[in-house]
């Protein structure tokens, strides 16, 4: 029997130890074949791009993707044997698919920036379009009136749809009455209502009957119809995440059902409810058709929600983008850029506010 001799390092030596990540070390053969698998298809495609007239999308999908698949498979075969081949296929396809969706989004935003950035300036955000004709240069006028309109309409829509949506979610998850399956079905069906139908509906029963003009209020009603299902369904999901322990805990303290909901369940789901509201706003903020019908158009800044037709960013884009004046078109693209930035801000806000978990 032999004794294992091992001298532990001294304290000094231990303090000098450097942290390493041994699992990151790759054999040279691996590095070499992976680099070749990355470089060769790229080079072939680059050569084809320079020498031929094949359109880029076809080049990428028909030539690059299969080439890359073959190259990766070969590299995998060399380094890890047959087991690695399926692995590499899945990885290449997954990377390709996610790149594709990123590229689509990036090109949408890119085209907005390219065409719209020219119109952006401080006065573009704050001035209105009174005395501005489509041929007026970009030095004058802006979409201040449309921004005010959009914000006003969205605010009105939120005032209407948030209480109703949250109450619907409370009915489904807390009251759990007999009508829950039907309510849930109708809410789901409602989320399929085309926005133009919502606009027509409001136009017919609110504007055409003479109850209200085309206005921020009528537009807000149309938006509320579209927002409601999103708010209700998202709120339902977050209320479901509130642990039942909290409900029974409150009831065991002698609480009524109503107090349990108001003081325990809803506060516990607060961040989630905020997310529901923001998702609802983001759902409607770019809708054009309902506002064309229910809110109308205006060059002036309107703050009275009931009195007169009002402009909004989507209708402004719609009215300007097809005009035969380059500056009007630039204004439309600039407005689109502003709108998408607004949506981005809202989604970021939702992510930040939603990060606090429902219960800690």
């Amino acid at each position: 029997m032999s004794t294992v001799t091992f001298d532990p390092a001294s304290l000094e030596q231990l303090q000098q130890q450097k942290s390493t990540r041994p699992w990151r070390k790759k054999p040279t053969k691996f590095t070499a074949s992976v680099s070749l698998a990355v470089v060769i298809p790229a080079l072939i495609v680059a050569a084809l791009f320079v020498t031929s007239d094949i359109p880029v999308p076809i080049l990428m999908v028909v030539i690059y993707l299969p080439l890359q698949l073959i190259a990766s498979a070969v590299a995998a075969l060399i380094t890890r044997g047959t087991r690695g081949v399926a692995d590499s296929m899945i990885i290449v396809n997954a990377i390709g698919a996610s790149l594709f969706s990123v590229i689509v989004l990036a090109s949408v935003i890119g085209s907005l920036i390219v065409r719209g950035l020219r119109a952006l300036s401080p006065h573009f955000l704050f001035q209105n379009s009174v005395y501005i004709s489509p041929s007026t240069p970009l030095d004058y006028g802006g979409i201040g009136h449309s921004l005010v309109g959009t914000l006003l309409i969205v605010f009105i829509a939120s005032l209407i749809s948030v209480p109703i949506g949250v109450a619907t979610a409370v009915y489904i998850t807390e009251v759990r009455g007999r009508a829950v399956p039907y309510v849930r079905f109708f809410v789901q069906a409602m989320s399929g209502v085309p926005s133009v139908v919502a606009g027509l509906f409001i136009l017919t029963i609110v504007v055409a009957t003479g109850a209200f003009n085309q206005s921020a209020f009528a537009g807000g009603l149309a938006y509320a119809i579209l927002m409601l299902p999103t708010v209700a369904r998202t709120a339902e999901e977050v209320l479901k995440l509130v642990p039942d322990d909290l409900r029974t805990g409150a009831l065991a303290l002698g609480s009524t059902r109503a107090r349990t909901v108001l003081r325990v369940v809803l506060p516990a789901a607060r961040t989630g409810i905020v997310t529901a509201i923001i998702l609802g706003v983001a759902r409607v903020i770019g809708e054009t058709a309902p506002l064309l019908l229910a809110a109308g158009n205006n060059d002036q800044t309107v703050v009275n929600p009931f009195g007169s037709p009002i402009s909004s960013v989507p209708t402004y884009i719609f009215n300007n983008v097809a005009l035969p004046y380059p500056d009007a078109v630039a204004r439309a693209w600039g407005s689109a850029l502003v709108l998408i930035i607004l949506v981005a801000i809202l989604f970021t806000l939702a992510r930040v506010l939603g990060r606090g978990r429902v219960s800690r």
């Binding site: 029974t248 805990g249 303290l253 107090r259 516990a268 800690r360």
Partner: protein, 281 residues
């Protein structure tokens, strides 16, 4: 049948240690009569007759699935919240059937508090807010909120650990502290009975010991009914013990009940002896 058995055991006990204050039997605070419980068509408990004397600790023991938790939830009318729940027999609190048509469950739950297996402090409230939440939720008016917070947290054995951070979120506390917090919360509404459904099952030994001390201390004022899987705990904290068992295919029932010293020291039933010695369950 089991009622007589129970009383018999208790009388025996009283004769044995008449002078000891420990088993002084006070008036009955709660009792169940021929209580049977269903979930839908499945009968989970049958013919449970137990009485809980005032200001004592009663431990409910038995293997998982024997209906202890279901039983304890019928005592403050939480059972009825589960869809398909049903029951027969009566649950008497101060001689009144709590399932009478004109009894408000909210009122019952105010008198009969509960601590759950998993600590469930309200995450949206501070430590102080949690202690006082029962008052707000039940609409109960009590003055001197500061005193209530200090008294109940002291009673729950948590005051010294949290007195400097009453405004912190309740979620920042450890599991054992959270459990003691919800005990304080339950005490703030001044219940007469406190139901505890395995209050220590998720806690480390030190927290468990603290809560057991709390239970002993509280039993001077409130009647405590505690479900536990921990035999030593039942011995340490309880005056009386009821052993529940659900045999193959039949609903749960009480096999034996009586003074804890009897159940653990001199059980009359072979099954009780086997269970308390850890031979099954």
């Amino acid at each position: 049948m089991s009622t007589t058995e129970y009383e018999g055991v208790m009388e025996l006990d009283i004769e044995g240690i008449e002078q000891s204050a420990l088993h002084q039997v006070g008036p009955t605070e709660m009792e169940t009569r021929d209580l049977s419980v269903w979930f839908g068509h499945r009968k989970v408990l049958e013919g449970v007759n137990i009485s809980f004397p005032k200001q004592t600790v009663t431990a409910l023991i038995g293997p998982s699935g024997c209906g202890k938790s279901t039983f304890i939830r019928t005592l403050n009318r939480l059972h009825e919240l589960i869809p398909g729940a049903a029951l027969a027999g009566a649950v008497l609190y101060e001689g009144q059937d709590i399932y009478d048509g004109d009894v408000d469950p909210v009122h019952i739950r105010l008198k009969i508090g509960m601590v759950f297996q998993k600590p469930n402090p309200f995450p949206s409230m501070t430590i102080r807010g949690n202690v006082l939440s029962g008052l707000k939720l039940s609409g109960m008016k009590r003055d001197n909120h500061d005193d209530i917070v200090e008294q109940t947290l002291t009673a729950a054995g948590l005051w010294n650990e949290v007195k400097d951070r009453l405004g912190n979120a309740a979620g920042d506390l450890s599991g054992g502290q959270q459990q003691r917090l919800v005990i304080a919360r339950a005490l703030a509404v001044q219940p007469h009975v406190l139901l505890m459904d395995e209050p220590c099952s998720a806690l480390d030994p030190a927290s468990t010991l603290k809560i057991e001390e709390t239970i002993r201390e509280l039993s001077k004022e409130v009647t405590i009914i505690i479900v536990t899987h921990n035999m030593q705990q039942a011995v340490r904290v309880s005056d009386y013990t009821a052993f529940f068992l659900a045999e193959e295919g039949s609903p749960g029932h009480v096999v034996e009940q009586g003074a804890t010293t009897e159940i653990f020291g001199n059980p009359q039933e072979q099954r009780t002896l086997d269970y308390v010695n850890g031979r099954f369950g």
